[in-house]
Symmetry: C2
Subunit: 430 residues, 2 copies
């Protein structure tokens, strides 16, 4: 057991509602009325087995994208407060429809917006953080009905303003519901049947993982494994909620994301130090060259990028000693042009240098809890990458990850080679 | 002046926000992004003239109908609470989009849901009544921005449940905003340019009225003149808010709905005792025949109809004295079959009789504040109707109205004849 909830919610020994399970269904799972009916049937089955359910749902299909696109037709840079007002309607439609589908199947159900479900957030529109979840409204609802249907992705701040939690927000909502109600596990239903050693669309031999550690999942999620958003994993780890990622189209077990205290030992013993391989082709590399080698240059460049809300991922800097310095960093590809525009005037101010973007890059990463304590992994990774002819442009490492940047045209070949080299496929050692 | 607001809001001598005007735009006026931009331009113009605006908007186009239809696909009799949860999203989308359009035109604007705008209602989902409008949130908003964009048709009850106000609810919202903020006039923008002597689509010579009394407007609205909902007129009269009904596609003056203290005198003096003629083809006549003439029969029939939520409009009963009695009444046409089903078992219990529905009827009404005090009007009405060969099946009268039921096939001819007989056309006496 992960020890119950604490922090944003009062620490409690067990569930506040007997027999409660916590589910979450994403946009694909409630993409049309037929799928909403299927979700209702699955929830009905849980109720028939004597359970109560707190279920979080996302907006139907591509509703959120559609709403944002509409806002952009009216305003090139839509105000985040009004965007949240707009986007929050997507989940509100889903909860009402799922509640009606449940009632049609004879299940006592009631919908709650994020605010009604007790989600108090800060006022950062578009990426609000949950400050507190008051369990009382959900407990009261679940005394009266069998299924509480909660709008994911949203809450309200202390002034009653509607807020949204940003990308992956509904997963975070579901984890927070489990934490607030003292439920050990949060079941996240999605369109894949779990977490894989790598993207099975790219590498058909990719194997489904039975269990994965929070830290590994955090790295994989941050690297673009779209099955869970890093923030929800971070919440789950912080509040000790086990996540069960599984398919909304089957009843098979998926992947358990939890704390694996002996995972490191096991990984070393079985020579499976790598849990997964991720490929990310959504970033661009920015090269800054010919910059005067004076103190404070990097600070000025990265302060300017921060002020412009350009997130920087990997950073490398040339070996010092020359009078002219160079550095490279990666940014989300759709911010590459902006990053160049932000850096250029800084270079003029500090007396020279040039900046350019390379959008044709890929970041390949191996992830595993034992990576930091297993010698020789970097070498195996570099060998495999070199074996397909790719030049390694950047490298970063952490306790649980090693990442390399290569030219995008080698991405898939390198991914296959690395996956193979670490024996991750279904035909590999187990 | 109508004396400011009182009752649901504290009585105040004048507007709480200097230079404030109150607007309302219906679903057609915000039917697509282009129209939303046009509404924004009109509001921008008001702001450029130094005004602040509290604007209420409906859901775009047929959004509400579409949402209800979707709910019905999931549940034959959708729960009213969940329907309100669903329908409330329609206005929420409109307010966010209009705010973005305003901001795009450089106007400082902010959206508010019904709950955020201070609308406290009772808990009657689907037809909630406004209990109180707290002016504080709107006053605060209008200190910070120039246009407060308010979701019509909705509020929340004391438990924080989302509620909707029922048909015509956005008009009521706008009137309540004017009352709460102490503004004398509420401008309701719609797809017609005012209130006419009768439906101009049926009678091309129908004339636009410059002014109309609340009582006349209430009768016309209740009789199916769709330009305003009776409830909003009732609120306006109760709280002394003048309504200006006008076109959202032009800048011409429309029709002022207000108290006209000397309207009766004027009407009698100018021989224009009739302000408008309405035709209603949305009702059916139910005939109950051969019923034992014993006390309490009518009470039992109408109690049963009330219990089944069947609204009864006109009622006539045969002259007493026979051992068998008969009565007729009218109900909304889509409830005719239900009315027959409700009445039949009552007849069996009380010992006989039969019930049948006639759906091919029309109710033609003349409306005017001086009708009750002007002799001879009923005769002129009956003459005009008889002149087109229609038989009068039922008659009801009030101080401001005389209605007759005729066969539906005579409806348009009779309407034209009556409109002409009372000199209401643009070519008639003025």
């Amino acid at each position: 057991m992960e020890g119950g909830s604490h922090g944003i919610v009062a620490s409690r020994p067990g569930p506040l509602v007997p027999g409660l399970v916590v589910h979450k269904y994403g946009g694909t799972s409630v993409g049309d009325l037929e799928r909403i009916r299927k979700v209702a049937t699955r929830l009905q089955r849980a109720v028939q087995h004597g359970r109560k359910v707190a279920v979080t749902v996302s907006a139907m299909g591509h509703t959120t994208d559609r709403l944002v696109a509409t806002a952009r037709e009216l305003h090139a840079r839509p105000d985040r407060r009004e965007l949240d007002m707009l986007m929050a309607t997507g989940e509100q439609v889903s909860i009402a429809l799922l509640s009606l589908a449940l009632q049609d199947q004879g299940v006592r159900a009631r919908s709650l917006t994020g605010a009604q479900a007790g989600f108090l957030t800060d006022g950062a529109f578009g990426s609000a953080r949950i400050l507190q979840v008051d369990p009382a409204p959900l407990v009261r609802t679940l005394e009266q009905v069998d299924v509480a249907v909660i709008a994911g992705f949203q809450g309200s701040d202390a002034n009653g303003e509607l807020t949204t939690l940003g990308r992956g927000g509904s997963d975070t909502t579901a984890v927070a519901v489990a934490a607030a109600l003292g439920v050990a596990e949060c079941q996240i239903f999605t369109d894949t049947d779990g977490v894989y050693t790598t993207d099975p669309h790219l590498i058909p031999s990719a194997a489904k993982l039975e269990r994965i550690d929070y830290d590994e999942m955090l790295e994989l999620a941050a690297l673009g494994a779209k099955v869970l958003h890093p923030r929800s994993v971070w919440y789950a780890r912080r509040y000790g909620v086990r996540i069960h990622v599984r398919s909304s189209f089957s009843f098979h077990d998926g992947t358990i994301v939890s704390a694996l205290p002996r995972a490191q030992e096991a990984a070393m013993k079985t020579d499976r130090p790598v849990t997964g391989v991720a490929i990310d082709t959504e970033h661009a590399r920015i090269d800054v060259v010919g910059v005067p080698d004076v103190p404070g240059v990097a600070a000025r460049i990265f302060s300017a990028l921060g002020a412009a809300n350009v997130n920087v991922d990997m950073i490398i800097q040339g070996v010092p000693g020359n009078s002219r310095q160079q550095m490279s960093f990666t940014v989300p590809r759709d911010l590459a042009a902006e990053a160049v525009d932000v850096v250029r005037p800084v270079l003029t101010e500090i007396g020279g240098g040039d900046v350019r973007a390379d959008e044709a890059i890929a970041k390949l990463s191996i992830v595993g809890v034992a990576i930091g304590s297993t010698p020789g992994l970097a070498g195996r990774l570099f060998d495999a990458v070199a074996g397909v002819g790719a030049n390694i442009e950047m490298i970063t490492t952490s306790e649980v990850r090693i990442s390399v940047v290569i030219a995008k045209r080698f991405a898939e070949q390198a991914l296959a080679a690395v996956h193979e080299a670490f024996g991750l496929g279904r035909n590999g050692p187990t």
